[in-house]
């Protein structure tokens, strides 16, 4: 399992059988969001401004994880 440039994604390449009909998608990725790594939130965590917090869906910068479809070109 490798770490992508995005710190909150991991990837793997599934075994390819000789008779798999679909052309391979190649590397499969999955999300490993920040809440997996932070543990109990420490005090004085950096915050977004109110309007930015609303836009981002969290007040706390270290928990923000933007999602984009990995299939999007």
């Amino acid at each position: 399992m490798t770490q992508e440039s995005n710190p909150f994604r991991r990837s793997f390449v599934p075994f390819r059988g000789r008779f798999d009909p679909c052309p391979p998608l190649g590397k499969r990725t999955f999300v490993t969001p920040p809440n997996l790594f932070i543990g109990f939130q420490p005090p004085d965590f950096p915050q977004f401004s109110p309007i930015e917090a609303l836009k981002k869906g969290t007040l706390w910068k270290p928990f923000y994880d933007f999602y984009e479809s990995p299939y999007k070109k």
Binding site: P43, A53, L59
Partner: protein, 89 residues
């Protein structure tokens, strides 16, 4: 019944400001639920809770009630049920 034909830009601007401030309040509530001894966060919560109340009072004077059970300005019309609902605006 006087359903407004369309709402002015200010409605959306002021509403979004309230949504942003209430969101901070909300995030601090969840944080405090698991960090009940963080006095700094309690202080920040109080500030934003106060600010939210102010913004809502201003908004309600212009566009009708947001919060259930609070006193209303307009005594001629029961705006709670005559003004549009969140999914309509």
């Amino acid at each position: 019944m006087a359903l407004m034909k369309s709402l002015p830009k200010e409605y959306y601007q002021q509403l979004e400001e309230i949504q942003a401030v209430d969101f901070v309040v909300y995030e601090l509530v969840l944080y405090l639920d698991t960090h009940p001894n963080d006095s700094q966060a309690i202080q920040q919560y109080n500030q934003y809770a106060q600010y939210s109340k102010q913004l809502k009072t201003q908004f309600e004077a212009l566009f009708g009630p947001l919060q259930f059970g609070t006193a209303v300005k307009n005594k001629q019309e029961w705006e709670w049920s005559t003004q549009p609902w969140p999914w309509q605006v």
